[in-house]
């Protein structure tokens, strides 16, 4: 019986101190094979020191249709930024 290997998303930490970053996907039968394949496909030139793989079906993404409702409310909250507050020039180190 033919059954296709599931799809996995691959994340790489390029060096300690940095976040893992999404780099692409690949097919593998299980998590261990996904790690091994990710090493061969995405880190042939020392691109990373750590790998995460997660089966693509477990990722929930926000929909582009929600962009307005999710992200626009932040746009008019300028008081969340330091530049909103005007202080005299004489005040230092703040």
């Amino acid at each position: 019986m033919k059954k296709d290997w599931p799809l996995w998303e691959v994340f790489i930490r390029s060096k300690n101190g940095l976040h893992h970053k999404h780099v692409g996907s690949l097919h593998a039968t299980d998590a261990q094979m996904a790690i091994e394949n990710a090493r061969d496909v995405y880190t042939r030139r020392s691109e990373g020191v750590s790998l995460w793989v997660v089966e693509s079906k477990y990722i929930t993404a926000s929909s582009p249709n929600q962009t307005e409702s999710l992200f626009e409310p932040a746009d008019d909250k300028i008081y969340r930024h330091p530049t909103f507050y005007s202080l005299p020039d004489e005040v230092k180190n703040i």
Binding site: D4, W5, L7, G24, S25, T29, D30, R44, P64
Partner: protein, 326 residues
């Protein structure tokens, strides 16, 4: 929003250089064009391993062998990055591979030419990877995010491919008369097919205009081909071998090299499947795919068995808690 508004929002984004991402709305024709282009590109990377793989066991030194192995492995990687980018458009990898092995999907016609001797490995790296780089660099700014990102990775790796090829040519050209003759012969055979890699003339390339509007394509076939000729001619001069084109000359007015007519009849013949190696290539790819089926099935079955065992073991290790505070 109605279809017209969606289309306008989409084009506005493209015009403003905002990348289109997988879940964004896109015209069906844009999606289809991308699936076709990305998958053809992926197939080309994969089939491109065959002509070079032919010489791995016969590389003249260990240094050349490790370089060629690494290059061929990169090409496999390029194919995988690209299949992965195509899959973000909602198509299954198996479908793409089926279309390629048993359907009508195309791949770059250059890989239907044979690698007759070691000099061909030099010529491929120099010319074929060189032409590929020329094509691919503008694709790093393609409007579709996942394709553009895959191209960035690919371009980073391609420059090693071209340099190792040129180095092989250089070594041959600085060698004996016979070695230099090998280099010249390889250039003679690979030059025209390399120019064909940029595709038909703009005037015969009906889809180009739409692709430019969508910013999938940034430069036209003829522009890219001209750039390739201009840089490559000088590299050939340095090697001291001649480009096999009696019409090739510098055009002061245009600031470019003029070059002779391309044999488009040959190009279309190869595209239609009648090149020197089309049948061999597809036969080799089918054989690899079909003979690997049991391995893929076995690996899947093994993973499922292991998972079932693990689930059972976990159930034993942490049995359903019983009420202890009664």
């Amino acid at each position: 929003m109605n279809a017209e508004q969606l289309e306008k929002t989409f084009q506005d984004k493209v015009d403003a250089e905002i990348r289109i991402e997988p879940r964004d709305w896109m015209p069906e024709a844009y999606r289809k064009t991308l699936i076709r282009q990305i998958s053809q590109h992926a197939h080309s990377e994969i089939v491109g391993m065959l002509p070079e793989g032919n010489w791995i066991t016969r590389a003249p030194s260990l240094r050349r062998k490790v370089a060629l192995l690494a290059k061929v492995q990169d090409e496999a990687g390029h194919g995988l990055y690209l299949y992965s980018a195509a899959e973000t458009l909602g198509v299954e990898r198996e479908t793409l591979i089926d279309e390629y092995l048993y359907g009508n999907a195309k791949y770059s016609s250059i890989f239907n030419y044979p690698t007759l001797n070691w000099a061909d490995i030099g010529a491929i790296g120099w010319l074929v990877d060189g032409a590929a780089i020329m094509n691919q660099v503008p694709l790093c700014r393609c409007s579709y995010g996942p394709y553009a990102r895959a191209m960035v990775r690919i371009c980073k790796e391609e420059s090693f491919h071209q340099r190792q090829g040129y180095e092989i040519m250089l070594t041959l050209c600085r060698g004996s008369e016979a070695q230099k003759a090998m280099a010249q012969d390889a250039l003679n055979r690979w030059w025209w097919p390399s120019l064909m890699m940029f595709g038909p003339h703009d005037s015969d390339s009906p889809h180009s205009e739409q692709s430019m509007k969508w910013k999938i394509k940034r430069l036209s076939n003829d522009e890219l081909r001209q750039r390739f000729v201009d840089v490559t001619v000088e590299q050939a001069h340095f090697l001291g071998i001649a480009i096999p084109d009696p019409d090739l000359r510098w055009n002061e007015e245009r600031g470019h090299y003029d070059f002779g007519p391309i044999n488009w009849a040959e190009f279309w013949d190869v595209v239609k499947g009648n090149g020197p190696c089309n049948r061999d290539r597809i036969r080799a790819r089918r054989k690899a795919h079909e003979e690997g089926q049991w391995v893929r099935d076995a690996a899947m079955a093994y993973a499922e068995k292991r998972k079932a065992r693990q689930t059972a073991a976990e159930a034993v290790a942490s049995p359903t808690p019983v009420a202890t505070y009664s």
